[in-house]
Assembly symmetry: C2
Homo-oligomer: 376 residues x 2
């Protein structure tokens, strides 16, 4: 094993008698994908390129934990190479799931990570000590004036961040510009002496992503919502590295990675580690108690991965979502704590008391809860 290797741990469905052979097959498949006869033809390849099998441990009958050490240089300085190296062709081996990942500082130092992260977004919003309150512009098909009204009411009432829904997609650059200008203007006019963050949705044709982002930033938006598993994880890294702004990850399509226990990649890696490597300042993920059947444990593991030390990469915001309602705030606070964006979409937009009153109530609840905590 080389110094400063990537250490990747996989949960593998395999019988004991085949487990060591499968671990070796994974080590070869991820790196050189050739028969042993070709590996031994070049002595440097086995030592420098092929992954080392560090460990094969039986977890339960038919389930093994395989730990590989992968040369960090193979991952280069981008997430295309890293993804290809970590799972690539092994995604087609049934029963292989990446469950834990240690990246050496040497590799991490090649990534910029979040530009703002938790502290930077707090500085932008001047909210130092409580979770942020966020909402969503939707549905697609609503007239722009109604989205503008949501912006006004939410910003007036003290909300902190507004993002386009990932399904709020304008047909072309002109309608995108028109809508974003109007939404941004409404927010700026209503925010008073605060700064309310506005993020546009960038699910759009690949060749328009930069153009849309430029339009949005010029229009007064603060950044964008980026869906790594739709537009490409490394495309997200490219965008966040190139443009100023605040960026949140959206989980569209990510369920093909995180769903199920026997393939793909664990959610804390997908929405935590990889999101930070892609330069996202926060990650939207579906939380328990909403429309999706996920566990509280999974959500907490994502939040931990967003915040844990990761070389020089800033910690990022947990954004639990997917049908959150104001009455779930206590549990969300318990699970995710202070550095959390409390994202309320449909529940806030349809609140009986109106968007403004509902937003005020949420902000007040959080202020009381976290001022109390501060006084203790």
């Amino acid at each position: 094993m080389q110094k400063d290797s990537i250490v990747a741990r996989y949960r593998v469905q395999v019988d004991r008698s085949d487990s060591v052979a499968l671990a070796r097959a994974m080590a070869v498949e991820l790196t050189v994908e050739v028969p042993d006869a070709l590996i031994t033809r070049y002595p440097g390849i086995e030592s420098d390129v092929v992954a080392d099998v560090l460990d094969v441990v039986e977890v339960e009958s038919g389930i093994h934990q395989v730990t590989l050490a992968l040369a960090a240089d193979l991952a280069g300085e981008d997430l295309n190479r890293l993804l290809n190296l970590l799972l690539g062709n092994c995604s087609m081996m049934p029963g292989v799931r990446l469950v834990d990942l240690h990246l050496p500082d040497q590799l991490l130092s090649r990534f910029k990570g979040p530009r703002h992260g938790i502290a930077g977004v707090r500085e932008l919003t001047a909210i130092a000590d409580r979770p942020l309150v966020a909402t969503v512009l939707k549905p697609r098909g609503a007239p722009v004036q109604d989205l503008v009204r949501v912006c006004r009411e939410f910003a007036t009432a003290g909300g902190d961040l507004i993002k386009d829904d990932h399904n709020l997609i304008d047909d072309d650059l002109e309608s995108f510009r028109d809508r974003v200008v109007r939404c941004a203007q409404a927010i700026r006019e209503s925010q008073g002496d605060r700064h309310v963050i506005y993020l546009v949705n960038l699910i759009a044709p690949s060749q328009q992503l930069d153009a849309r982002l430029e339009i949005a930033l010029e229009a007064g938006a603060d950044g964008a919502l980026l869906a790594p598993w739709v537009i490409g994880l490394d495309r997200v890294r490219e965008l966040t590295g190139r443009w100023p702004g605040v960026y949140l990850g959206h989980p569209s399509m990510s369920g093909v990675l995180t769903g199920g226990a026997s393939s793909g990649i664990d959610a804390h890696i997908v929405h935590g580690t990889l999101a930070r490597l892609a330069g996202l300042d926060g990650s939207v993920f579906v939380n328990s108690g909403g429309r999706f059947p996920v566990t509280r444990t999974e959500g907490r593991s994502i939040a931990a991965a967003l915040r844990q030390p990761l070389a020089n990469l800033k910690p990022a915001w947990a954004v639990p979502a997917g049908g959150m309602r104001p009455e779930r705030l206590p549990e969300m606070i318990e699970d995710f704590g202070r550095d959390t964006m409390m994202l309320m979409g449909g529940a806030l937009l349809t609140a009986k008391e109106g968007i403004e009153a509902c937003t005020r109530e949420i902000v007040q609840q959080l202020e009381e809860r976290f001022e109390t905590a501060r006084e203790m």
Copy 2:
């Protein structure tokens, strides 16, 4: 249901009593993702935006087939919007798998599809009537002179297409240029009066994809190997639309979609329909009888999707791979027929009789087999 809708069929794990509600939840989640109260606020949204549930049929106990009609305009003219629309947030609903897809001509006409496809590549190679013989440059870590030697021997012996392995990744643009120039030159010097196709690997930093492709085309390569599920499916469409050349899809990471039966997307859609929409002239997929446990049925379904009529999109090459050996040719011919690239990597590179003799033998076998067929 609007005329010219996308019709998407899902295999869903759900009890009979919940199946209709789940189908409706999917229809809402994929399009507007808001409570009914917001949908009914704007009458046009239910009719124009929210998907229609066409059908919910019990296939077996606990398994239903849900058919949705989705407005084609929501998919725009790109694959970011299409993916987000077809599976997006429903990827996070357990037990939902996209298994069949009908795209209306109105939508298909917005995509260029493969530039060359089956007929175009036949024209480039002047091989009219038999499968093509293809090989792979690998392993990473081998000296360039050895890759050059593979190029020479394979081209001299009558091979038709050489591609970089998806793990053959040069650290930077300079080493990429150096290697590609030398490989392309060796092929051109050895091909005689034929044209042997050379495709470079484009797993690289997102911001370098265009630059690497430009370098490769200038160096005399014919196009590239693109991994849609690493670099982004719509990024592939963008690249194939922007640059001339021949493009093959590589399945790295695609197993998170195709593996398992209860989530993701069926292989014939991933490697067939979506590949053609992305402008790929052919799709590499793991075939039965190699290193990956897939079925012959799956491979044949991919080949069918690559070739079936799809508005004006050209049919594309089936490229069964993943540990194919010369002795498997008869079965591969039986499964995939004439319009197939017979891709032999490790088996050819380590052939006892040498690359040249092995290549000649494969070419001869195919010529005999398909000349015989022609004479019948």
